[in-house]
């Protein structure tokens, strides 16, 4: 009897903690939605800011964020996947490879503002890309690289060894085995990792402060060397600078709401993809 009672208490406690977590999450969403939804309108989503950012829309920031995300992923996805494949499938299990692995994991723990400074020093100054989409995308790309590598590694390691053996036993070369027997079942896992890093890229402010973002720009970027507006930085700008704090605040919440919806829908997409693949793989 005592066992059952203590078990009940244990589970109730865990459930309580879960509720607290959900409460925070709900509060954030509710808070942002309540304050931001008022600002949302067709105009808000499709027009440029007007009247010293007190009215008009945030379309350039949405577009800018989109470009940055796209650039970062185009850069980091192939690189990350290739590294993961090498580390999992080809590399001999040696001391050096272990160090590389640990380094990659540590890279994931570096604060994002450090990546920003790195981007400033390397892409903006050294390569002379200036403050631009290119510099920002590369910086963001490097920032999420560890995340993409570990997600891909995990997905690859989760592929049963038996698939590889079956493929080799049929006379497949290592590369064909990876291409046809390992990557396909690993793909949902890899894509989930990528999509979740999209969410992270979209929301980061620090790496783009010095490398890509501008507070206000008339019109849309016309090349990868243009500086851009981006949603997170726009929020930061509206809340800390400018001359009309009250009106700006409302727009900032609108931006936050848009960003939140974007990130949530990307995560949702990740879940959908994973579920579909899981069903397909039985």
């Amino acid at each position: 009897m005592r066992k059952i009672v203590s078990q009940r208490i244990g589970f109730s406690f865990l459930f309580l903690l879960l509720l607290i977590t959900l409460l925070f999450l709900g509060t954030i969403i509710y808070f942002i939605a309540a304050k931001g939804v008022g600002a949302i309108s067709w105009q808000f989503l499709t027009q440029s800011p007007k009247n010293a950012m007190t009215s008009g829309g945030v379309a350039p920031a949405i577009v800018g964020t989109f470009y940055l995300v796209l650039g970062a992923i185009v850069f980091s996805f192939p690189l990350g996947l290739a590294s993961a494949i090498y580390l999992c499938e080809y590399s001999p299990k040696s001391y050096i490879i272990n160090i590389i692995r640990i380094s990659i994991n540590n890279l994931a723990g570096v604060p994002s503002v450090v990546f920003g400074l790195f981007g400033l020093a390397v892409f903006v100054k050294f390569f002379g890309f200036g403050v631009s989409i290119l510099s920002g995308a590369l910086t963001l790309g490097i920032m999420v690289l560890p995340q993409i590598i570990s997600a891909s590694q995990e997905a690859l390691l989760a592929v049963p060894q038996s698939y590889r053996e079956a493929s080799f036993a049929l006379g497949a070369t290592p590369w064909k085995t990876i291409k046809k027997a390992v990557i396909p079942p690993a793909l949902p896992g890899i894509l989930t990792g990528v999509i979740l890093s999209v969410g992270r890229v979209a929301g980061e402010t620090a790496p783009i402060i010095f490398t890509a973002a501008t507070l206000y720009k008339r019109g849309y970027p016309n090349s990868i060397f243009s500086e851009v507006m981006a949603l997170p930085y726009h929020i930061y700008g509206l809340m800390t600078e400018g001359t009309h704090p009250v009106q700006q605040k409302e727009i900032a919440y609108g931006c936050a709401f848009v960003l939140l919806i974007l990130v949530l829908s990307v995560s949702f997409l990740a879940i959908v993809i994973r579920q579909r693949q899981r069903r397909k793989n039985g």
Binding site: K93, S162, A169, L170, K176, A181, K280, N281
Partner: protein, 253 residues
């Protein structure tokens, strides 16, 4: 080399790191016969058959001494292409391991990775292989369904079809029925007996009755040594070694 020998094992020693897994093993595997390899766990049975298609190379830190000849040619010679060896020696594993692809694509896999693109040829070959593996009737109407939806026994026969599609000369089976129920096991055993006409079959099994039922020759291994290798009937009625007798009668250990 005698006409009827497909695989010759000559003075083979095999090591995982410093640990010896096989010692001085020499045996001839006869063409178009079923050879069963029995012995307690860790006796080197699986290690031996995985040497036949060079699968042990996938494990780092292993070392082989001696020769293994396929039709008189050393498969470990530097002139031999390992991919070719593996194509000629098919393998079926302990747990059915179809790819998470359609039934058709599973069987076509070996053809595709070997560079065959002609669709008609592939389709014909898939059908033939499925028929040879005695599973065609069960799957012909759902070739595009995912293979993982099949039952365990069907999956294993699919894996046999997959191995047959690349036209191997030898079929290695590593405890192919250990994960199957008795009915599926019977089906696979009947299939193996049918396949003997075209293929040389080497089967590792823990099930001694199975070895007795289907094998022409039986080899008994213990702790990496080949203890006794003879016609199956002799092994099971009058083994010449006391250890063999103790093992097959269950007195062992």
């Amino acid at each position: 080399m005698a006409e009827n020998i497909r695989i010759e094992v000559k003075d083979v020693n095999f090591y995982y790191g410093k640990k010896s897994a096989l010692q001085n093993v020499s045996m001839d595997i006869k063409k178009n016969k079923i050879t069963a390899i029995i012995g307690p766990s860790g006796c080197g049975k699986s290690t031996l058959i995985r040497l036949f298609n060079r699968m042990n190379e996938l494990i780092p830190n292993t070392r082989l001494e001696g020769r293994i000849n396929l039709d008189g040619k050393n498969i470990y010679s530097s002139k031999i292409d390992v991919v070719e060896v593996r194509r000629r020696i098919g393998m079926v594993f302990q747990k059915p391991n179809p790819f998470p692809k359609s039934i058709f694509e599973n069987v076509a896999y070996g053809l595709r990775v070997n560079g065959i693109k002609e669709r008609k040829y592939i389709a014909a070959k898939v059908e033939k292989s499925l028929k040879n593996a005695a599973i065609w009737e069960e799957v012909k109407d759902r070739l595009s369904d995912n293979a993982l939806g099949l039952s365990g026994g069907q999956q294993q026969r699919l894996c046999i079809a997959r191995a047959l599609a690349v036209e191997p000369e030898v079929l290695l089976m590593d405890e192919p029925c250990s994960a199957l129920d008795p009915t599926s096991t019977r089906k696979i055993e009947e299939l193996i007996l049918d396949l003997k006409k075209k293929y040389t079959i080497v089967i590792v099994t823990h099930n001694m009755q199975q070895a007795a039922r289907i094998a022409d020759y039986t080899a008994f291994f213990m702790l990496g040594d080949l203890i006794e290798y003879d016609v199956t009937d002799k092994i099971f009625t009058r083994p010449s070694k006391k250890v063999t007798e103790d093992y097959i009668t269950g007195r062992f250990g």
